[in-house]
């Protein structure tokens, strides 16, 4: 099997797995229990928090553990809206966010918020002039993702942070697809709130973090015990948190060298595909991108058919469109970048990772080339639409 869907999830690093085992086997106590057996678990969670804080360039108190990126995004968006409901009700986001943010924004609209969805350029970068122009006295939150999950395009979050800081507006960024892929410390992105997740950086599923800069207005959105400084009630997922910290340490420490390796492989893949296959477009090619991601649109054919064609040959890829899950709407990200519905429908995403080698890339290019040619022979459409 050649796995090229690391933006969906990554394999668990063996060292992270080893770090988790004691907390699944012997030290299964509740971190909140009032005896030494519980304190062992508490110590492990707090050591993991310290480790994440050191990697992020922040203090331990600024790290809130959550169950996943989606929960962290919900806490950030809903928590700020709740904390600042007397100040305003306007939220600014982009048209290319992950559904964790996008659908939370849509839900907030039903709950009385006004939400601005900013356009992006053809390269998939948010329009800064539109962002600056969208802010008003009622704006309480700006949420713009760091790297896009479909295209890998990196948004200018530092520039956005400079604007929101001046205006006294809270800024959240979903950095799930950049954390551990770019040699950047979380706190240095400049945002007040940053989401990042374990299973995208070779940690386990079930643990993520929300970085909360000191003094950022944020209210809890769940009720329960006083866990995570009262921001996230519920018994900590000790083993997953320990694994997350171990994996994050490896990912952040190796981000630069691994990034260089992946960029070379990704560029090799794109160069080979563009020379072997006519009618292919590399989405976001001209923009800064995380080094592992390639979004490709093939003329005249359907992305889900390409993905199944690759799957039959043992290659795991995903569509750029949500049609794979039966949703007939093509990718909102690629549509926002100006692709026609048919172009967006013909898109796939390849995301490389730690086990990807040059041979995998070359095999994938060969298989992709023959799959595309076969599907085009079947296709009833020819040329741009």
């Amino acid at each position: 099997m050649i796995y090229l869907d690391h933006n969906a999830t990554t394999p668990l690093d063996p060292l992270a797995f080893e770090a988790m085992v004691p907390f699944l086997r012997e030290r299964w106590g509740n971190p909140s229990s009032p005896y030494r057996f519980g304190a062992q678990a508490r110590l492990a969670v707090e050591q993991a928090r310290q480790r994440i804080a050191d990697l992020s360039g922040c203090t331990r108190g600024e790290v809130v553990f959550c169950s996943g990126g989606t929960e962290a995004d919900n806490l950030a968006l809903r928590g700020v809206v709740l904390a600042l409901k007397t100040k305003g009700n306007h939220v600014v986001t982009t048209s290319i966010e992950h559904h964790a943010v996008l659908n939370t924004c849509r839900a907030l609209e039903k709950e009385g918020c006004r939400v601005t969805y900013l356009p992006v350029s053809e390269e998939g970068v948010v329009e800064m002039a539109a962002l600056a122009g969208s802010l008003c006295d009622e704006t309480i939150l700006v949420t713009v993702m760091h790297a896009n999950n479909e295209t890998g395009v990196v948004q200018p979050v530092e520039e956005i942070a400079a604007i929101t800081r001046r205006r006294g507006i809270v800024f959240h960024t979903d950095a799930v697809q950049s954390a551990g892929k770019l040699p950047r410390r979380i706190a240095e992105l400049g945002a007040d709130l940053v989401t990042f997740s374990g299973h995208k950086l070779y940690g386990p599923k079930g643990a993520a973090a929300l970085y909360v800069r000191e003094n950022t207005p944020l209210a809890a959105i769940t009720t329960g015990g006083p866990h995570e400084r009262g921001l996230r009630a519920g018994t900590e997922n000790v083993a997953a948190i320990v694994g997350f910290a171990a994996a994050a340490a490896l990912a952040f420490e190796n981000a630069e060298t691994e990034g260089r390796r992946l960029r070379a492989l990704r560029d090799r893949l794109e160069l080979q595909v563009s020379s072997a296959v006519p009618g292919v477009k590399i989405n976001g090619e001209g923009a800064p991108r995380v080094p592992n991601t390639s979004s490709l649109s093939f003329r005249d054919i359907d992305g889900e058919s390409i993905v199944l064609g690759l799957d039959v040959e043992g290659i795991c890829a995903s569509t750029g469109s949500a049609c794979s899950t039966g949703d007939p709407e093509p990718s909102h990200v690629l549509r926002a970048m100006g692709l026609s519905p048919r172009e967006a429908q013909g898109s796939i995403r390849l995301s490389l990772g730690r086990e990807t080698c040059q041979e995998d890339v070359d095999t994938t290019v060969r298989t992709l080339t023959s799959t595309v040619a076969r599907l085009r022979r079947i296709s009833s459409v020819r040329g741009p639409a």
Binding site: D5, N149, D300, S305, L308, D311, T325, I378
Partner: protein, 145 residues
């Protein structure tokens, strides 16, 4: 996230269940029957249908000899469900009388494939509609040669 694939693949194996399609569907996707187009001279009926909501499109040609579908060919722009159901439809229609072909339904296609995912059922209508359109075209050509 377009991240969560609906794969139910057995771990590590490349020959386990593929996506949510069964083996018959996969076979018709990988080796579709009757792909291509009939020449102008061969064509007795032609139909083209599209599903604008999904962007899928299908073209279908028939040659009718002695009231039977002697030759049939199709081209399809679409998802695996669209390709496999179109392929199966042509396999079912080939050799049938026009009356028999007219009675083919999307249920017949889905049944012959051993089922397709509920979310892909609309794909099977594409082929049936293209065949109906080709038969109507054949009738028009007979009335106005």
């Amino acid at each position: 996230m377009a991240d969560e694939g609906d794969t139910n693949r057995e771990s590590g194996g490349s020959r386990g269940p593929l996506l949510f399609y069964n083996e018959v569907v996969i076979d018709h996707f990988v080796n579709p029957r009757n792909v291509g187009e009939l020449s102008e001279g061969d064509t007795d009926g032609y139909g083209m249908v599209g599903d604008p909501t999904c962007g899928d499109q299908m073209k279908l040609w028939i040659a009718v000899h002695g009231g039977r579908i002697a030759k049939i060919a199709f081209q399809s722009f679409g998802c695996p469900g669209a390709i496999a159901t179109s392929s199966m439809l042509t396999a079912l229609a080939e050799g049938r009388t026009i009356d028999e072909a007219r009675r083919l339904t999307d249920d017949d296609v889905v049944e012959a494939l051993g089922g397709i995912p509920e979310k892909k059922r609309h794909c099977s209508q594409l082929g049936v509609r293209a065949l109906q359109a080709a038969i109507e075209d054949w009738e028009r050509r007979r009335e106005h040669p």
